[in-house]
Amino acid sequence: MFESFMKLADDSVRQMQEAQDRWVASVTAGKSGSAPAGQVASPLIPLQHFGAYHQVLGTIAARQIQLSQGLLAAAFRPEPDVSLVVELVQMQHAVLQRLAQQQTQFITDLGGLLAGITSVPQSNTLSKLLDQEFDFFGQLHALMSDQTTSLVELMESLQMGCGYLVTRKLAGTGV
């Protein structure tokens, strides 16, 4: 019995060691081919994540500056374009509508989730019981994640839409 446990413990330690070795090889060797297809193994991965955020946020900032410049140019045109103002107000209205839809959906989903945890789960095994307990956190995480990405999508959409509209008004269209 004791020997079986020791063997199990030995095996576990060995497997963890092998997994760690594989990870170290993947982030240091680079040429070993152990990195997943399409990914470049690098010890600088956290920095690369930061770089990706930096790049996307930089693009958003640049777009915002461009948009502000466009709006300023449109505002100081000798003959102001009333249709632009109307369309920007329509965009604002569309954003409010979508925010309201997102909020309604979020509250409905959250209500469903909370209703679910008021009932005691039925399970025959400890593993299933634990699984059911963790399900709640998984679903909550998914809900919050969806809500956040929906908000960011709306922000991107608004920025894109305004930029596109102002550009078209100022300079005509062009691929």
């Binding site: 297809a37 399409g38 990914q39 470049v40 790049q55 930089g58 693009t59 640049a62 777009r63 461009q66 369309e87 329509q90 965009m91 569309a94 954003v95 979508r98 999508e153 991107e156 959409s157 608004l158 894109m160 839409g161 930029g163 596109y164 509209l165 550009t167 078209r168 269209t173 062009g174 691929v175």
Partner: protein, 356 residues
């Protein structure tokens, strides 16, 4: 018996297809690709069916959306071509018709004059929350501007359908749903409306199929290049009379995103290989094309796209390329031209069916 992991499907057979009578239809990304294929090879097609798709090259509407071209095309795809906040920030059909003419002038697609006598079916469900109805209306306008006669365009926008191809299968989603597998039960087979609009009155669909669905090796048509984002296999429905040597016409049916046979859902950024989606075969088996094809000597070709989500290709949903993800040079994407890897591959399949 162990499964043969190295299985290679047989090649697509040659038939006696009249290649001057071909047509194409598709849903969503398949609809965007339908427009591109139709324009790229307008000399080969007599009509097209577009379900929830936008006009040609609309993903290039606003280059200034991002400093990196690839990012700009994707932002355009999402916020101009699929779900603009208001119609005024959607695709501009006048501009895109001019772009199509210029693209033809450069020799990248067939002359747009070929479209004049074509028949076009355009559909948007009034409950569609994935591709906004205002976008699909610009597709209709785009075709009109290119000279397609108004009475040759059937435009439907009053049915309260979500983002889907409509069927009469009780197993499919309720009509207003906007969720996979994007097959909604509306009490009729939309595919059959498309085929009848393109080809005129046809014999009623067969109650019992005489022919069979064939699986064939798709890789030979894109030379196995991973950037094509096309699956190893594709399918075709072949009526018995056609398989026995009879003449036929070809209709190409393009699935939408998340509808390829080997689509894998991504959960928390990882492919969920343990839970393969259960509907991968339904687009080429239950959408009603085959029954109509059987009665009318049509071969239905079902090319298959597949997903990829890595540093080179961002297409996790297995969509057809209508924003340039297959481009070798993203700054100058060629996803819309006769040289585009997916368009060229599908057209090669078409030529094979014609015996070439």
């Amino acid at each position: 018996m162990l499964a043969d992991q190295g299985y290679k499907a047989p090649p697509l057979p040659r038939f006696r297809a009249d290649l001057s009578q071909s047509s194409v239809s598709g849903l969503s990304s398949g609809a965007f690709m339908t427009v591109q294929l139709h324009l790229a090879y307008s000399g080969s097609f007599v009509g097209a069916g577009i379900i929830a798709g936008g006009p040609f090259r609309c993903a290039e509407s606003f280059r200034a959306a991002a400093a990196i071209a690839e990012d700009a095309w994707e932002l355009n795809a999402l916020y101009v071509c699929m779900n603009p906040l208001i119609p005024q920030v959607g695709p501009d059909p006048v501009h895109l018709a001019a772009v199509a003419r210029e693209t033809a002038r450069q020799g990248l697609i067939d002359p747009v004059e070929n479209l004049v006598d074509d028949r076009v079916y355009v559909f948007t469900g009034s409950e569609d929350s994935v591709v906004n109805s205002s976008v699909v209306e610009t597709t209709k306008r785009f075709y009109e501007l290119l000279g397609v006669a108004p009475d040759a365009i059937r435009f439907e926008n009053t049915i309260p359908a979500g983002h889907s191809i409509i069927t009469d299968n009780p197993e499919d989603n309720p009509l207003p749903a906007n969720r996979p597998p994007y097959l909604n039960n509306g009490g009729f087979m939309q595919s059959q409306h498309i085929l009848e609009h393109i080809y005129g009155p046809l014999k009623p669909p067969s109650r019992r199929l005489s022919g069979r669905i064939i699986r064939f090796d798709q890789t030979e048509f894109f030379d196995g290049e991973p950037r094509a984002c096309m699956s190893d296999f594709a399918y075709a429905y072949v009526p018995k009379a056609v398989e026995e040597g009879g003449p036929c016409r070809v209709h190409i049916a393009l699935h939408g995103c998340k509808q390829g046979y080997n689509y894998v859902n991504f959960v928390n950024g990882r492919p969920d290989l343990d839970n393969a989606v259960p509907y991968g075969n339904r687009y080429f088996t239950t959408t009603g094309y085959n029954e109509m094809a059987d009665a009318n000597d049509l071969v239905i070709l079902y090319p298959q796209a597949q997903g990829a989500d890595n540093s080179k290709t961002q297409n996790p949903d297995g969509c057809w390329d209508w924003w340039g993800y297959t481009a070798e040079d993203p700054a100058h994407p060629d996803y819309y031209s006769r040289n585009a890897i997916q368009i060229r591959a599908i057209h090669r399949m078409l030529k094979r069916l014609g015996g070439e």
